[in-house]
Symmetry: C2
Subunit: 338 residues, 2 copies
């Protein structure tokens, strides 16, 4: 390993000078600079990021906490986040919490403020208390994809209007003439996806369309969860002409359930989800969905986190609002059959 000192030696200067030319700080004579550069080149010197981090007091890394990177939604977010982080020379550490609060806490304890300068948290089971503790210790935390722009989580966050997303989905179904619409919610009633469902209900109600509680199912945010919920719904309420799911995964499950029952999509049943993950684009038929600005939100989250880092975390728990969700109509929704 080549060190600064070795470069300095070879260039006939001191480490301080080498540091200066490398960081483009301070004034260095052209001749000296060239000698230094030559030495760097010759020795193949690469700065030791850990040493630099220690000296500077902060590491060039950000932590991204997700429940599991294998959840199809997160990789897209992670990719965008990493790209944004790289812009300012930062690296991304992924932390799979696996829904386990103990693991989450361990991550926060170990990483926050030492190995990483800041933490990005995806909607997850991580307790707000833990996050506040982390923050109190001086490490900025940003909640990514907060679902309710109208309510502050008490932590810096990037909010996406998921209420609007639910409303958009409902409106689309309404526009197609559906009035018997089942709902599959990928969380518990008061869970993280509640706002999406609220938006859906709100729109239905405003249109005077009934939506009895029995036509809704709360389940896991997964294909299988949606599958099971849809089976129940389609069995118990044979007059349903459409299914709204608060997320693409359960929506996909609903499509499978319909297919297994010999129903054609969208002729016999329309299905719509929320998010627009890659799978939605690549399923057959393509899943109509309300696209959420994943990339933009990731970029904004990183930028917000970086701003907090620069400013020492001192800011009025701001909320940045991501662009509005937009309807993406594919082949899984169609006009209701008379």
């Amino acid at each position: 390993m080549t060190t600064l000192a070795e470069v300095a030696l070879r260039a006939g200067v001191t480490p301080a000078t080498v540091s200066n030319v490398l960081r483009k700080r301070g004034k260095v004579g052209a001749a000296t600079r060239q000698r230094v550069l030559d030495a760097v080149e010759f020795l193949g010197y690469r700065p030791h990021l850990t040493a630099r981090a220690l000296a500077e007091g902060s590491a060039p890394t950000l932590a991204l906490m997700v429940t599991s990177i294998a959840n199809p939604f997160y990789p897209e977010f992670a990719l965008a986040a990493e790209r944004a982080a790289r812009k300012n020379g930062r690296f991304l550490i992924v932390c799979n919490t696996n829904e386990d609060p103990v693991i989450s806490r361990a991550y926060l304890d170990q990483i926050a403020g030492t190995l990483s300068e800041g933490v990005l948290v995806m909607n997850s089971r991580i307790g707000f208390d833990d996050l506040h503790t982390t923050r109190a210790r001086g490490t900025p935390v940003v909640l990514c994809m907060w679902e309710r722009p109208d309510v502050s989580p008490g932590l810096p966050c990037v909010a996406v209007d998921f209420f609007a997303a639910g409303a958009l989905a409902a409106q689309h179904l309404l526009d197609l003439g559906h009035t018997r619409i089942g709902a599959i919610i990928g969380s518990q009633p008061e869970g993280v996806q509640a706002a999406r469902y609220a938006g859906f209900c709100h729109t239905l109600k405003a249109a005077g369309v009934a939506h009895p509680a029995q036509e809704a199912r709360f389940t896991r945010d997964a294909v299988q969860g949606g599958y099971e919920a849809a089976c129940e719904l389609l069995t118990e309420h044979t007059d349903l002409t459409a299914i709204f799911a608060t997320n693409d995964l359960p929506a996909l499950g609903a499509m499978h359930a319909a297919a297994d029952r010999g129903m054609r999509i969208p002729d016999d049943l329309s299905v719509i989800g929320i998010t627009d993950i890659q799978l939605a684009r690549e399923s057959r038929p393509g899943l109509s969905t309300v696209a959420v600005p994943t990339d933009a939100a990731a970029t904004m989250a990183v930028e917000l986190l970086e701003a907090l880092i620069e400013s020492g975390g001192h800011c009025e728990t701001p909320m940045r609002i991501a662009p509005e969700p937009v309807l993406v109509q594919r082949a899984s929704t169609g006009r209701v059959r008379s």
Copy 2:
């Protein structure tokens, strides 16, 4: 931020002693230990990983280089790799190279040996030269999922017998009575997926089944690539009863192509892929495929990398062989229709 020194002060000992009780190294009196622990507790002390890394000469992180974490195959691998790394207290930094050699090099230059102790590389466009350079500089590198157990890449690696995977897929199709089988290869003829195709060809040949070159297509390793290739194949060779794809993504694309042409799967066309990504399990019909031991390979790769790190990288470029691929029959393959 609380430091070791502060803890020491409060416990009335020296930093060295605190370090000893925390690392469970050396002998420390029970009373002293307790006082230290109390102080740690009271002050909420957390070791500064960066400082530790610098002092120890190595960081508790591993880098995982992939072309894009959004490629559906990588997240599953990344998850397993992270789990394995965590076992020994290491963190995972994901590096999306985006197929760009410049980015890859930049990562290697910056991270290897400074921010991370070792590098995991997924099959990608990263030049072997760069990897050797990294290794020569003292940072262990492990190639994950090397496709040819019979040929050493000249770098430590975990190999998966993809030739066998291709052979297995072919045999399955043969067993079902297919003799007119199109092939879609998700890389160039000499590319990374060549071994899979070779295994396929080998088995067909051994069975005396003809497979003319016109019935193979080399394309991108993506759904769309497979879709386009399948369209060509099905148009030009209407007597094909099955399609083998070297990866699940193009296989899925082939299924879509068939569906778009009104062909039923598996009645009119059988389709099989390789890997068994989550999408394969969740597509309709479920994709028959040859499952590759992703988790095992990830774990082995991390273990190998850690072994190299411990040993200072001095070992005879060993190759660890992952478990054999296994056939997973789902609904996309069936007996050929007479």
